[in-house]
C-alpha cells in the first residue's frame, strides 16, 4: 500500500499545533516513514503546493482573505481535512470578542493598533475552519495533545476515524483525584463545560481550567453560570471567561 500523502498547514495562530507535531521527538522519524509529507512549510523548504493530499492537517483560524483562499485551496486538494487545535476548531483567542461591537469595526481596531496604515491591512474577524469549508474531523486543544495527534494518525493509517472523549474536564479531574477548585476554593474553573482529553492538566496543578479545549459536547453553560453567580461572579465576567477560547461554543 502506498503511503498516504499529507500536508501540514498553518493559518493564523501561534503555530503551537505544528510545534506539537515537531515535539513528538520519539515518534517523528517513524511518523515521516509512515506518511508522505508533501507540504509542510514550517519544517521544509521543498514543498509541493499543488499535489493531491490524502490528509490535510490545518491549524490556526481564518483571519484574512488570504487565509480563506489558502484554506479553500487546501480543501480542494485534500480528501480528509482535519482541524488542528482550538483556533481551527472554534476560532480560538483571536475570536474571543467576535460578535461584540468592537470587533465588528475591524478597521477602527486596526487603526488603533497600527495607525492609519492599519486600515489597508487584509484582516477579517476570526473564523473557525468549519465556517469557511467543510471539515472532516476535529482535534481540539490549545495546543492539541501530542497523544491525540499520534493516535489520530495511527487510527487513520488503519482506516478508522479516531475517538476522542466528549465528557468534560471534571471527569478526568475527578479520576486524578484533585481537590475541586470550584467547590472548595471558589475559583472560576471552566472544567465542567470544557471538553476533556487533557487529563485535567490545569486543575491537577491547582490552576483553574480556562477552557482552552473548547466546550464539551453536552455543555450546560447556563447552569454553571447560575451557580457561579451565586458564588459572587458577575455575569459579564463569566461570559467573557467562558468565551475566551471558543466564542461560538457557549452562548
Amino acid at each position: 500500500m502506498s503511503k498516504p500523502t499529507v500536508g501540514i498547514f498553518g493559518l493564523t495562530g501561534c503555530a503551537g499545533d505544528q510545534l506539537v507535531i515537531l515535539n513528538c521527538e520519539d515518534q517523528l522519524l517513524d511518523l515521516v516513514s509512515l506518511i508522505d509529507i508533501r507540504d509542510f512549510l514550517m519544517a521544509s523548504s521543498e514543498n509541493n503546493q499543488d499535489c493531491q493530499l490524502d490528509l490535510a492537517l490545518v491549524e490556526g483560524a481564518v483571519l484574512s482573505n488570504r487565509d480563506a483562499e489558502t484554506l479553500r485551496a487546501i480543501r480542494k486538494r485534500s480528501k480528509l481535512l482535519v482541524a488542528l487545535g482550538t483556533c481551527a476548531v472554534w476560532g480560538g483567542v483571536a475570536a474571543m470578542n467576535r460578535g461584540a461591537d468592537r470587533d465588528a469595526d475591524r478597521d477602527a481596531l486596526l487603526e488603533e493598533v497600527y495607525g492609519d496604515i492599519g486600515r489597508g491591512y487584509d484582516s477579517t474577524p476570526a473564523q473557525a475552519l468549519h465556517e469557511v469549508v467543510p471539515v472532516d474531523f476535529n482535534i481540539t486543544g490549545c495546543p492539541i495533545e501530542k497523544e491525540h495527534f499520534l493516535a489520530a494518525v495511527a487510527s487513520l493509517l488503519n482506516g478508522d476515524l479516531p475517538l476522542y472523549p466528549e465528557y468534560p474536564v471534571c471527569t478526568e479531574c475527578r479520576m486524578r483525584e484533585n481537590n475541586c477548585l470550584l467547590i472548595e476554593r471558589g475559583l472560576l474553573c471552566c472544567g465542567p463545560i470544557t471538553v476533556g482529553g487533557c487529563d485535567a492538566r490545569c486543575p491537577d496543578l491547582r490552576v483553574p481550567c480556562v477552557g482552552c479545549r473548547g466546550p464539551a459536547g453536552d455543555a450546560n453553560a447556563g447552569s454553571l453560570v447560575a451557580v457561579m453567580e451565586e458564588m459572587g461572579f458577575s455575569r459579564p465576567q463569566l461570559a467573557a471567561r467562558l468565551r475566551t477560547f471558543a466564542p461560538g461554543g457557549v452562548a
Binding site: N158, G159, D160, L161, L163
Partner: protein, 290 residues
Amino acid sequence: MLLADEVSSHHPVLSDNPYQPHMARIVRIYKMVENNHLFTLRFLEDHLAHSFRHQPGQFIMLSIPGAGEMPISISSSPSRPEVLELCVRRVGRVTNALYRLRTNDVVGVRGPYGNGYPMQEIIGNDLLLAAGGLGMAPLRSLLWYALDHRDKFNNITLMYGAKRPEDMLFREELTALVDRTDINCLLTVDADPSATWKNHIGRLPSLFDHAKIDPMRTYAAVCGPPVVYKFILQRLLELSFPKNHILMSLERRMKCGIGKCGHCGIGYKYTCLQGPIFTYWDAINLPEMI
C-alpha cells in the same frame, strides 16, 4: 506459538476470562443488501467450532482488532453448527472496520450471551415470526431452528416486510420458503419499482389478513425498527395476545455483554443478561423500554 486463549488459560489469575475474545476466521462474506452483509465465521480452534452452542436470539461480542468490540445477534441456527453467521449493518466505526476485512481475515468472538428465546416455553406451540428490515437478523436463527426441528412446533408463520425487494435480507432463502407447506411464509415490500416481485406488496401489518393465528397457543417473536414494533404490537394486542407470549428483541449500547459495564441498563434490567429478548409484559413495566 501459543494462542491467546491458551496464554490466558495458563495465567493463574486470568484463567477464566469472560472478556477473552476467541479468534475466528471469516470464511465467507455475502452481500445480501448494500451495507448489510452476511459474514460467516469459523473459530480457528476446531474444538471451539465443535462445541460452540447457542440459543436462537442470543448474541456474541464481535471484536475487530484495533477498532473495537460490538454486540451482534447470531443469525445462524444452532441446528447448523460449526460456523456462525452474522448479518451486520454498516453504521459506524467498528462496523466500518469489519467491512474493510476480507475472507480469511481474523476477528474475535466471545459469547454466546443474552437469554435467547424461551425455547422450552415455545416448543409445542404455534410460532409467529414478525420482522421488518434488519429485524430479520435475530429471527433467522429462530426460524431455522424451528424448521430444523419441525416436529416440535405446531403452525409456523413468518411475516417479513422490507421497503423494496432488494432491501430484503435473506431474500433467496426466504422466497424459497413461500412454496413450502410446513410454514406460512408471508413476504411483503412497500413498493416494487422493478415490478419483478411475486409476493405481497403493502405494509407489514397487512400480512395479518393472510395468516390464521390463534393467540392463546401462539408465541410471537417480533423484531424491527420502532415503527414495526408499534404497528405489529397494536395488531397483536387487538388479537388479545397474552402479553408474555409476545417476544421482542431489543437493542442497547453494550460494552461487555455480561452485565458489568452498565450501558445496556433499562430501568432495573440489563439487556445483555435479562434480554435481549423481553416479553411485552416486561416492556410495559420497564421505563424507557421502547
